[in-house]
Symmetry: C2
């Protein structure tokens, strides 16, 4: 019986364990997590609003335990890489044949003056903390969310469901969501948030927090002072690499633990995956800082297939943006690079922007507009990125497009592609965004 | 200026014309249709119920006309292939450089005794006819739909919205929808229909219609006599090839006008596409009888790219099932071959059946079960077919899967694939059907 030990118990760990159980016999799997109740990470924003009980956002461990996986709630303090032993804070040493690092990421907090005042908190993947934060928010009047990425925007949107409150989002970049979307989509999101009464401030940073014991004011770079009873920081995360570096693995606090396409680290008996592991961008080939639960799950599967030897040689060998979100019921999806990112990388491209109606005929109830922006490489028409906005089917439509992008699809590939049209579920056969975009790109290439 | 003339004005014609306008300069496009108001074909069932005014199901010609396309409402009586002239019933001859056949299909009516009685009608792509049929159905009490394919099932479901009526579906095969779905999904559909009060009769054929002048009874093979004020026949369609055969094109009434992968017929100046054109099955390589608006649109695009010469060499070179439907708000999607079809073709395969919840955490409102069946080739894990059932995002999820199938995806390809997870739009990162199915298949292959 081989021993495989996973340090971590989030999405990457569970993706790894599910696939590992399916693909390997005669293997004992153990995972070690430092908190009792682990949430569904993408569900955290909804634990603040839609879900009355934040503990409903639990990611159950029971399925894995039932299949014979051992879960240890403890802190890994060190790893003896020579003796192949995991050292725990409380429990006995655990021997491993293969060790898998899934230590995740931790919130990044800039050295703002006053950042240690009470009621300034970060999002962490621990349900007890989420519950306590929700209680504080419910009791608060003035809430400031610093950072307008997905988590910040979704949480602000969710907090509107907790009654009359002053909610402000402070975002340093030109727009909220600007890491994933171009201006048009970001501005639409901001408009939705503002209509719900959220104060959205962009292109302005926080300089200081003020208060006595508890936070009372958030001071911005333009001099504005916002009243604040509670501040949530959702500025970004950095990989948890302390243990990995202590073990002598290649890596750093910015890139994470360096891995190859099989999730192997510099130590042949150690793999790493998820937010703590390095990534390569599918389009640029450069290091990528993207951190998503879906990518963590994918890396978990890849690591599981290749744990004892590199058995599964696959493409794609890099990661790319593949997101969706729902803001007040409006769905946004994005994959690949934005126009802005492509300009920054000096990648020559065409932007095709268009819209359609997601039912046919358009007179059907529930018909709504779907808009899309498609970025194609100028020379060969390869799909480089796509953003769409519409009703709930955006969440799966972006998977279709993300798959196409991962398969190196060109405008010509999308042009000839067959798809399923249905009155109650899609645009009409000649008005499907993908084909319209492909046709327009082929026109420009001629 | 080159002259391209299209015989037909449905989905294939419009797909061709839209793409043709984009891809070719200095070309005059003309299309000839024998009815004034052409519907969105897949929308016809909804013209019977959801759409109060059947004319809301119109497929507008205005966009094409505005771009300089000529629409002629007339009957093409002959084509002089030597002189390259289209002969019209009323208008002048029209000269062409390239002629495109998009004559569609016509309903197939077996020689049932009594089939010519009044109020026994077929579905045709003419809005005036749809309107008159809806009026008759509204006035009727007992309605029999013969044929439980997509159109039959959707129309029966829609007619329930017109008030208290006795509606019966008569299907000769083992189940409704059995051309696209395996038993489980068909039975679920039948259960939904029965709960709505529709009488669903399967594995029984019609032997005769009785009545004086108007239909009164539908007699079934088991001796049952159903009262009937109105009968809709939706048994199937056959390609409209009369004109094509008269022109000397290769083809027959079963396969349609024979075309190659570029939609070229046996005459170098004539292309054909849509329901009137032959098709090859992507998986078996055999002739395929599948007829879908989405395939017609695809063939229109392919023909447009290749009209003057074979410029766009592409894959896939065949067609496969790629459907979705919504029955009383429950969505079903299918692509590729069913288990039953694979058995019939002696293609060795594994069937992976599973289910998930389409939101995460599962406690979120609107979370519903999505079930799926995945057929993989036994030896190499290639995806051969897939059926899913769930909420509205099924309509786009099946496009993702249909694309994977058209790209020859294997279980391994799907296993490593990245996707976008979002609480309000998809299953959780480790419970996405596609990955679960791929993992299970890889397990079976080891």
């Amino acid at each position: 019986m081989k021993s495989v030990v996973v340090v971590g118990g989030g999405v990457a760990a569970k993706g790894f364990l599910s696939a590992g159980l399916a693909l390997h016999k005669d293997t004992k799997f153990t995972f070690i997590r430092n908190c009792e109740k682990s949430p569904v990470p993408c569900g955290i924003p909804y634990a603040f609003g839609t879900l009355e009980n934040p503990y409903d956002n639990i990611s159950s461990d029971q399925g894995l335990i039932n299949k014979g996986v051992d879960l240890i709630i403890d802190e890994v303090v060190d790893v003896d890489v020579e003796g192949k032993l995991v050292k725990l804070a409380k429990g006995n040493d655990i021997a491993y044949d293969k060790l898998v690092m899934a230590t995740g990421a931790m919130p990044f907090v800039p050295p703002f003056p006053g950042k240690d005042l009470k009621n300034i908190e970060v999002i962490v993947k621990d349900l007890d903390v989420v519950k306590s934060q929700k209680d504080k928010i419910m009791a608060a009047k003035n809430i400031v969310v610093v950072g307008g990425g997905f988590i910040g925007v979704e949480i602000a949107d969710e907090i509107t469901k907790l009654g009359e409150k002053n909610i402000t989002i402070v975002e340093l970049a030109r727009n909220v969501l600007s890491a994933a979307f171009d201006v048009k989509y970001c501005e639409e999101t901001e408009e939705i948030l503002r209509k719900k009464g959220i104060n959205v401030l962009t292109e302005v940073g926080v300089t200081e927090f003020k208060g006595n014991d508890k936070v009372e004011k958030v001071v911005l770079a333009d001099g504005t002072e916002l009243d604040a009873d509670f501040v949530l920081l959702s500025i970004g995360v950095k990989p948890n690499v302390d243990l990995g570096l202590k073990m002598g693995l290649n890596g750093d606090g910015r890139s994470g633990i360096i891995v190859d396409a099989y999730q192997q680290t510099s130590n042949p008996d150690v793999l790493a995956m998820g937010d703590c592991a390095s990534k390569v961008d599918l389009i640029t080939g450069k290091p990528s800082g993207i951190k998503l639960a879906s990518i963590a799950a994918r890396e978990g599967r890849v690591a599981a297939a290749n744990i004892f030897s590199k058995t599964m040689v696959t493409d794609p060998k890099g990661v790319t943006s593949l997101f969706s979100t729902s803001i007040d019921g409006v769905y946004f999806g994005a994959t690949g690079m934005t126009h802005e990112q492509l300009v920054r990388e000096n990648i020559e491209h065409e932007v095709v922007e268009l819209s359609t109606i997601d039912r046919h005929p358009e007179a059907l109830p529930d018909a709504s507009e779907m808009i899309g922006s498609f970025m194609f490489a100028k020379e060969n028409g390869k799909l480089l990125g796509c953003q769409i906005r519409g009703a709930s089917q955006v969440a799966e439509a972006i998977n279709f497009l993300g798959y196409a992008l991962q398969q190196d699809a060109t405008a010509q590939d999308l042009f000839v592609l067959n798809y399923a049209s249905h009155p109650m579920g899609t645009a009409s056969p000649n008005k499907y965004l993908v084909h319209m975009a492909a046709t327009e790109m082929l026109k420009r290439m001629r």
